[in-house]
């Protein structure tokens, strides 16, 4: 297999996910299969090919910097899991 369960652990950590042993084995198998299929891209000579990240020939899209109405703070906070004093509340970060 291209991807071993230990590597899945590393990828999961980068992705901010925690997995059970059963999931690690499953994803090792699935990711290996998918990457094996993707391996075929390496057969193509792309040395002189520019990458395309986006199909539209867009450069920077500018607009005038004008103040426009925005949503009220209460409305913006209404979907937050935890709110205090009009702010998003998160666990303590600085000791």
């Amino acid at each position: 297999m291209r991807i071993k369960p230990e590597e899945v652990d590393y990828i999961a950590a980068l992705s901010r996910l925690v997995l059970s042993d059963q999931e690690k084995n499953m994803y090792a198998r699935h990711l290996s299969e998918i990457l094996e299929h993707a391996e075929r891209l390496s057969e193509l000579d792309t040395d002189d090919v520019e990458p395309t990240a986006h199909v539209l020939p867009l450069k920077n899209v500018f607009r005038d910097d004008q103040v426009k109405p925005s949503l009220e703070r209460d409305i913006l906070l209404s979907n937050a899991p935890e709110v205090e004093n009009g702010c998003f509340k998160v666990p303590r970060i600085v000791e």
């Binding site: 999961a12 992705s15 990711l31 993707a38 199909v55 539209l56 607009r63 998160v90 666990p91 303590r92």
Partner: protein, 487 residues
């Protein structure tokens, strides 16, 4: 004929001539939903009271002597990854189960401005990642032609609702085939417009360089009408293109004389079901009888499109879905030790299995040491695939190919085998990679009586030629009139 069975343009004509009221249209569709939804499961959210209230507003507007705008008064529905003010928008994910957007997506606003009646929100694969609507965290949607089979995906609810007459039309989104493939499997019309033609503002992002919103409808004329309503530049989406958009209904001409059709052989190779090939080949012969010219051609990089697509789409998804951290909106785990632990538990509990798979695939493809081999390589192959299409469109007006390699498959059949599921999109992903428009229209039934889809691919911003070719086909064939209820 029952009102719910009408096409959108037929229903609109009746409303305009005051042969029916908006309330009568809504009541007919609602009654029908009550009869069939139990066995189809197209909707995540339905609000009949709100729909009837909107219908009454339209009737009052008509009574006051105003003309009802095109699409006004028609009961419709929206895929649940487009924001609807005050109505939960879940992406069929536990992560967003309680998310109530404070604003409407631009497409939703445009339909509301035309006084369309919103019935509810439609089921989908979680975060639009899937080809069968089975990855929804909430429910399975059944194919109206055979309820043991999937409706396709990820816009499976959008396609099933139209096929079962549970809405006059619906909106879906298409990142790698998510409008066209379910349209094909459910025997309805589905179009992915050119990248940039329709605003993505308020569409929950999956892969931003590929995502595009489009209509699922009962026939090609309805598709043109809905397209008219949703295209256009939007200052809230920097990738939406500012240009003049035509009236697409004037492209509906029953004439393909002189149209040059390219038939790329790579779309008829291994893995494409024989009955699908035969139906599409018959359709191409019919175009010839109707006066079009066709010729076999080649898009040599097609075979690499699927791999490039899954790397690019997953890489963009891994970045886009980084925002689900349990802070500003969405699910947050109940118990955690610290900030990082909160992120991890929130995401592990909130996301389903396919979404985690794509996030990890994308994270890996972007990670140090693998970026060049996977992500950058895929972007270069994207250039090669785009050039293939550019060369073809120097010679041809449209390309005609199958939409899906098979007809609807059984529920559960591909769920544990991701690579097999991904192959469902092999005929549709090249179009997203190149940002082109394409439509899927019904072109016959297989031996089991399941619908087969014909895909017509056009030049960038030339939806008109696609619609003309599709309309001519529809005008000379009976397939769009075949209904699952008559099996």
């Amino acid at each position: 004929m029952e009102l719910y069975r009408l096409t959108a343009h037929e229903a609109y004509e009746k409303l305009k001539k005051r042969e029916v009221s908006a309330r009568e249209l809504a009541q007919s569709v609602i009654k029908h939903i009550e009869d069939v939804e139990q066995s189809i499961g197209a909707y995540i959210h339905l609000d009949f009271d709100a729909a009837l209230k909107q219908a009454d507003d339209v009737d009052r507007h008509i009574d006051e002597g105003h003309e009802v705008p095109l699409l006004g008064g028609l009961p419709i529905a929206i895929k649940d990854n487009m924001c609807t003010e005050g109505i939960a928008t879940t992406c069929a994910s536990r992560m967003l189960a309680d998310f109530v957007p404070p604003y409407d997506a631009t497409v939703v606003r445009r339909l509301k401005e035309r006084q369309a009646v919103v019935l509810g929100k439609l089921n989908m694969d979680e975060f639009a990642m899937g080809s069968s609507t089975e990855t929804s965290a909430f429910k399975k949607t059944k194919n109206p032609w055979d309820t043991d089979r999937v409706p396709g995906g990820s816009s499976g609810g959008s396609a099933a609702a139209v096929a079962a007459d549970e809405a006059f039309f619906t909106l879906g989104s298409d990142t790698g085939g998510s409008i066209r493939q379910p349209a094909s499997l459910c025997g309805v019309v589905g179009m992915k417009p050119t990248y940039g033609a329709v605003s993505r503002y308020g569409l929950v992002a999956f892969a931003s360089s590929l995502d595009q919103i489009g209509p699922l409808t009962k026939d090609v004329k309805d598709c043109a009408m809905v397209l008219n309503a949703i295209v256009g530049h939007d200052p809230y989406d920097a990738t939406s293109v500012s240009r003049s958009y035509p009236d697409y209904t004037s492209a509906l001409i029953d004439d393909v004389k002189g149209i040059k059709i390219g038939v790329p052989k790579e779309f008829f190779g291994q893995g494409i079901n024989e009955e699908v090939k035969s139906a599409v080949t018959k359709a191409i012969e019919l175009f010839k009888e109707m006066g079009a010219d066709y010729e076999e051609t080649s898009l040599p990089y097609t075979d690499h499109a699927l791999s490039a697509y899954y790397l690019i789409a997953s890489a963009e998804a891994s970045s886009n879905l980084g925002r689900y951290d349990g802070v500003k909106y969405g699910y947050r785990a109940a118990q955690y030790d610290d900030m990082i632990d909160m992120y991890k538990k929130t995401r592990s509990e909130g996301f389903g299995s396919e979404v985690k798979r794509r996030i990890m695939l994308g994270t890996y493809a972007l990670s140090s040491g693998y970026y060049d081999a996977y992500y950058l390589k895929a972007l270069k192959v994207r250039t090669l695939i785009t050039r293939d299409f550019q060369r073809a469109f120097e010679k041809y007006d449209v390309l005609v190919v199958p939409t899906s390699p098979t007809t609807a498959f059984k529920i559960g059949e591909r769920l544990d085998n991701p690579m097999e599921m991904y192959l469902s999109d092999v005929c549709t992903v090249p179009v997203n990679i190149a940002g082109l428009p394409a439509i899927s229209i019904p072109c016959g039934l297989d031996g089991r009586g399941l619908p087969i889809g014909l895909q017509i691919i056009g030049k960038a911003f030339d939806e008109e030629t696609i619609l003309r070719v599709a309309y001519a086909f529809e005008s000379n064939t009976p397939y769009h009139n075949q209904k699952p209820s008559e099996r």
